[in-house]
């Protein structure tokens, strides 16, 4: 594992990182409950257990940087500052949803917050992130694109094309592999030729091999800061493998029973949130401060739930809207 220097964060900043992780955790739990209650109709892929990665990266990004996420993108969307209500409402298919219900859980997008889309076809968004980075490079804006994907996604062709492309054009893009050990129901090492699906491929693109404890938000923040600053300085892309685990199943009501009990137990013991809770207490935070955060987040989730539920169901006007930039969908005169 790449050693990381303790990042330069004061307690307030760390409390923010805690708040963010707790927010993601509670949001995802609520999303799960709402799925069971049939409010969330389609599919959804939760980041329970993986919150430290989304939080650590988002904290290291500039407001105008770009996030590219997958179908497992609730956490990355929220971490960039998108409020909970439109995200929950999107999962429920309401007009107050982030995309008025037209995208759904797998396609969360908020251009205003730099969330340049969540992509549901494995691999596709890696080249697209290259494009945003190329644009930033051409426009000279020093924006950086951060692109998240899973361990299983390292075996698809687009991964390879994007990594090479980013390397040769020295694009300001940071590729982040969230290695949670599993693709859907298959263990990634069983179908991957190397033990570390991202890090062991870095040299194929002239890049450094970087592995980070994805359950340690401070470590993630440190590695993110380095890679993002490198990109911003015009030194090109990075590929980071963050080790983590999803607490639940792959999607929807999948109980994830294919995973050995001891593996699940081992990783539950490494839950990023209690871990950080303990660390913060050690670094001078009080239990009361942390409880206050948890409670205020809980209130936010409750409020968002009510607001989302109150959103109207979309009507026919939305159906034919915005295929084209003129706002319509006409393909003929």
């Amino acid at each position: 594992m790449t050693t990381t220097t303790s990042p330069d964060l004061d307690l307030d900043a760390k409390l923010e990182l805690y708040r963010m992780q707790v927010g993601l955790r509670q949001f995802e739990k609520r999303a799960y409950d709402l799925f069971l209650e049939n409010y969330v109709k389609g599919t959804s892929h939760l980041s329970l257990g993986q919150e430290a990665i989304a939080a650590g990266f988002a904290a290291a990004m500039r407001p105008d940087d770009y996030t590219f996420a997958t179908y497992r993108g609730h956490a990355h969307t929220l971490a960039r500052g998108v409020p909970m209500t439109p995200v929950l409402a999107e999962l429920m298919g309401r007009t107050n949803g982030l995309m008025a219900g037209k995208g759904g859980s797998m396609h969360l997008t908020s251009v205003e917050h730099g969330v340049m889309g969540s992509y549901a076809i494995i691999g596709a968004h890696l080249p697209i992130a290259c494009g945003a980075a190329w644009s930033a490079q051409y426009r000279g804006t020093e924006q950086v694109a951060v692109c998240f994907f899973g361990d299983g996604s390292t075996n698809i062709g687009a991964f390879h094309e994007a990594l090479n492309f980013a390397a040769i054009w020295k694009l300001p893009v940071v590729f982040v592999c969230e290695n949670n050990l599993w693709m859907e129901y298959t263990r990634t090492t069983e179908i991957t030729a190397v033990p570390n699906p991202a890090a062991d491929r870095a040299s194929a693109y002239g890049l450094e091999s970087i592995i980070v404890d994805g359950n340690d938000v401070d470590a993630v923040y440190a590695v993110a800061t380095t890679a993002i600053e490198r990109a911003r300085a015009g030194e090109g892309p990075s590929l980071i493998e963050a080790l983590t685990y999803r607490h639940g199943g792959h999607s929807r009501a999948d109980p994830g029973k294919y995973r050995p009990d001891d593996e699940v137990a081992e990783w539950l013991a490494k839950d990023p949130i209690p871990m950080y809770h303990a660390r913060l207490l050690g670094e001078g935070a009080t239990e009361a401060q942390l409880v206050e955060i948890e409670l205020s987040v809980a209130a936010e989730v409750d409020r968002a739930t009510e607001e989302a539920k109150a959103g109207p169901t979309p009507g026919a006007d939305l159906l034919m809207k915005d295929v084209w930039a003129d706002g319509g969908s006409a393909w003929r005169n």
Binding site: G93, A120, I121, T186, L319
Partner: protein, 325 residues
Amino acid sequence: MAQLTFREAISRGIAQEMRRDETVLAIGEDIGAAGGVFKGTVGLFEEFGPVRVRDTPISEQAILGAAMGAAMTGLKPIAEIMFSDFFAVCWDIVVNQIAKSRYMTNGQMTFPLVIRSGNGGGLRFGAQHSQSVENWAMMVPGLKVVVPSNALDVIGLMAAAVRDPDPVIFLEAKSLYASKMDVPEGDIVDTLGSAKVLRQGSDATLVSLGAMVPRALKAAEELAAAGIDCTVVDVRSLVPLDTATIMREVTATGRLFTVEENPRLCGWGGELSSIVAEEAFYDLDGPIVRITTPHIPLPAADALEDMAIPSVERIVATVATSMGA
């Protein structure tokens, strides 16, 4: 007779063929111990083991490339592309390699393979997991295209597809996976290229496919109540296309309505319409009307998706209006 779901029929159809022929193998993502994300391969891993039922990486080009290379050297692979939308990441292997290589090699190679895939909407999965791509496949010379509408047909057409020496794209309507019907015991083998007439009427002919078949049938019932007596045809196979049956039924009523889940432009119904407009023009009593999903990406929200895909109500209303009722 046993009640079988559409999804159970998939694995029963595959198992039937794997028992018969050792060269039939199944590959795909999570199709092994997990039984497939749609549970369409449950039991196969247990019965045939990890060599014949094999999990793959998320590498759709490798999956179909492997199927192609295996088919040209004597095996009969059944490859799964989890959602038919993902054909887009391996389209080259399908359209440029598998479909063309027999012709290019002047018949030196044969590709007895089946590519099955979950197709279509209704599950609120949004634009990248809900497409009906039957027209993508129909458009490509060298591919056979099969789209069953019920569990019995799934078994029989799967057997026919596996036994067929040519590459077959086998599209499983996701919204039908949970549908059930009584299916007889024993081997079932159907024929590719045969449409089925499910209902005989005198006023208009509704030609439908896959998940649209039960809707067309339901619509025909409602239309009958309104005095419009419809024939309903289940196309079942786009290539080869049973134009004989379809033309017979269209000319009998003089009116053709297609009921298509694919988006509007260049759908199978457009092709059918053009065949009828060319070959049966003088037998038509009125316009050919296509009932399709509009030419838009599919929205995720349930309310929107239900408006997009042809519904029983829309079929009824369109036919009734067009028939002047």
